[in-house]
Symmetry: none
Subunit: 193 residues, 4 copies
DNA sequence: AATGAATGAGAGTTCATTCAT
DNA sequence: TATGAATGAACTCTCATTCAT
C-alpha cells in the first residue's frame, strides 16, 4: 500500500512529467496550468499544493532536469584510469543522455536563456557541474592537456556536443558510435598537451 | 525630406528595435504589444500594419538578426589567402559580433529553441550560413582539415564560441584578444589534417 | 454629437451606477466584475481602463456617494436665518436623501465599516462634512445650543436619523412629514441651550 | 476531565472566537476557512461538523454576538427604581459593552447591513431587544417621556451611542464618564415629557 | 495611414467544500 | 469524531487584436 509520502512523491512526478512534455512541445506560456493538471491527472488546485506558482514549477523542473543530466554524464567517469578515457566517457555520456532523454535535453536548451529561470536556480545548477573543474585541474597538473581554464575545456566539450545534438535533432547530421568517436578525437587532439 | 517609403522603413526599425530590447529583457510573453508600441513611439494598431501579429513580429526579428549576424561573421573571410586565416577570421568575427551586439546575440540564443520560431524561419536562417559549407569543402579538398562533415566543423566552431560567450556574459571567464587567439588554436589543432 | 470626454464620463457613470446597484443587492464579493460589465453594457476589460481594480472601484464609488450625500444635505441650510431652522433643514434633508436615494444610502451604510474602504477614502469623505462643524460653532457662540463638541451634536443628529431610516426600511416604523418633524423637536429639545 | 459535550462547546467557541477576530480584521471574504481553522487550532473539515457552511458560521456568530450585547446592556436595568435611571443604565451599559468588547461591537457594525446576514438571523436578533419596548411603554404610560413610538426612543438612544462610539474608535472624540453622562442628559432632555 | 479605446477570451490562482483516512 | 489533501468552479485581471475615428 502506498504511504502518504509515496503518494506525495508520485503526484509531484506526474506534475513534473506533464510539465516537461508540455513546456517542451508548446512553450511555457502556451501551456495553461489547466492543461498540465489534465495531463498529470490531478486537479488544477493540486498543483499549487506542490509548487508556489507556475514560475516556481518551471524553476524546480529546470533544476531537477539539470541534476539528472549531471548525474547521468558523470556515470563511470571515476572508474576510468586514464584522463583521456575519463573525458571520452563524459563525451559519450552526454550524447547518450541527449539521445535517451531527448525531451529533457530539449527542455534544458529551450529554457537555458530565458529570463523565466531565475538567478537562484542558475546558481544552484552550476554547482552540479563542479566535478568537471576537478577533472580538468587534475589533467592540467599531470600536464596532459593544454593549460587553459577549466571553463574553456568545458566549452570545448559541451559546446560541440550540444551543437551536434541539435543538428542531429533537426536531421542535418546522423550520430553514430563512429561519428561520436571521431568527433571526440577532434576534441581531444585540440586539447591534449 | 523623408519619402513615404523612408518613413515606412524607419517605423519598422523602431518597432524591431523596441521588440529586440524588450523581448531580450523580459521575454516574449512578458512583453505586451502596447509596451512595444510605447517604446517604439507608435500606436499599438500601427504595429499591425507592419506585422501580421505578435508571432510574425518575433519571427521576422529572428530572421533579421540571424541575417545581420551572418553578414557580420563572414566579413573579410574571402580576402584572407590561407584557410586557417579564413577560419580565424570567422572565429574572431563571431566573438566580435557577440561582444558588440550583445542584445542581438542574447535574443538569438533566447529564442533559438523556442516553438515560437516556426520551421519556415528556421529554414530561412539556415541558408545564411551556407558559405561555411563552401569554406569547409574547399579546406577538405585541399586536405587541410580532417575529413568530417561540414556540420561537424561548424559545431566545433560555433559550439565553443557560443559557450564561451555565455560564460563571459555570466562573468565566469574573461574574453581577451589573447584568450580568443589561444582558444582558436585549440579549435584549429583539433581540426587540422 | 458626443465628444471623447463625454463618452468617458458616460462610461464611468454606467459602471458606477451598475456597481452601486449590484454591490448593494449582493454585496461586494458576490458581485463579479463580469456582472458589473454586463449590467453597465461595457466589456469587462473596459472597467480596468477607468478603475485600477475592483477595490479602487468601490472606494471611488464610496467617495462619490458620500460627496453626493453631503452636497444634498447642506442644500439651502445657509439660506435659513435661524439656527434651529438650519438644523431642521439638515435633519429633513438627510431623511429626504435617504428616502429619495435609498440605494445610495444603503450602499454607504453597507460599506461604512468594511476594511474594504481604505483610510485614504475615509479621510477624504470626512472633509465633506466640515460645514457641520462651522454650523455648530456658530450656534455655540450664539449660546443657542448646549456647549458640547461638534462631533457630539453630529452624533445626535445623524445617529437617530440613520437608525430611524433603517427602521423605516425594514418596515418597523413609518416616516412621514409629521413623524420627521416630531423627531426633530426631540433632537432640538435635547440640544438647545 | 472534560466530557464530550464540554469538548464540543470548547471547539465551537474556539472557532467562533477565531472567526470574530479574523472577520473583523480582514472582512468575511478575505478570511479563508483554512485560516479560521488554523487560528482556532482545528482542522478545516472540523468546522463543517459545527457549522453548515461559511455563511452559517457568520450568521451564528452574528446572532450570538447580538445576544451577548443585549444581555450586557440590560444588566441591572430592572433594579433601578426610576425610569430615568433605567435609561441611564442602558446608555452607560451600551458604552461599556462597546468599550470592553470592541471587537464584538466592530463585528456587529461591520455586518449589520450586509446581505450576508439573512432575514432569519435579523428577525432572531431583533427579539433580543424587546425589553426596550416594554421599558418605553411603561415610561410612556407614566407620562415620563414624550409620546412617541418605542422605535423612535430606541433610535434616539442607540443612534447617538453608536455614532459616538465610532467617533471614539477613529480618534475624533474621547469618551469619559463625564462626557457619557453629559450626552445622556442631552438624550434625556430631548425625551422627557 | 495611424491611432488607441474597447473588447472579451483566456490566463493564473484561490478557496469553500468533500471525503478517504 | 477529526482531519487536511484534493478538488475544480469561479474569481480578478491582462493583453492581442480590432476598428471607428
Amino acid at each position: 500500500m502506498a504511504t502518504l509520502e509515496e503518494k506525495r512523491v508520485e503526484k509531484t512526478e506526474q506534475i513534473l512529467e506533464a510539465s516537461l512534455k508540455l513546456f517542451t512541445e508548446n512553450g511555457f506560456h502556451a501551456t495553461p496550468i489547466s492543461l498540465i493538471a489534465d495531463t498529470a491527472g490531478v486537479g488544477a488546485g493540486t498543483i499549487y499544493r506542490y509548487f508556489k506558482n507556475k514560475e516556481d514549477l518551471i524553476n524546480e523542473l529546470y533544476e531537477m532536469s539539470k541534476k539528472r543530466m549531471a548525474d547521468f554524464i558523470f556515470r563511470g567517469v571515476d572508474k576510468k584510469p586514464a584522463t583521456k578515457e575519463k573525458f571520452k566517457t563524459l563525451w559519450v555520456n552526454m550524447f547518450e543522455f541527449i539521445l535517451n532523454q531527448p525531451r529533457e535535453f530539449l527542455f534544458l536548451e529551450q529554457f537555458a536563456n530565458t529570463p523565466l529561470i531565475n538567478s537562484e536556480t542558475r546558481e544552484a545548477v552550476d554547482k552540479f557541474f563542479l566535478p568537471v573543474k576537478t577533472l580538468v585541474m587534475e589533467a592540467w597538473e599531470n600536464n596532459e592537456i593544454v593549460q587553459i581554464q577549466g571553463e574553456f575545456v568545458w566549452a570545448f566539450l559541451s559546446g560541440p556536443v550540444i551543437s551536434l545534438s541539435k543538428m542531429n535533432r533537426s536531421g542535418k547530421i546522423e550520430l553514430t558510435e563512429k561519428s561520436i568517436s571521431e568527433s571526440f578525437e577532434v576534441f581531444w587532439k585540440g586539447l591534449e598537451a
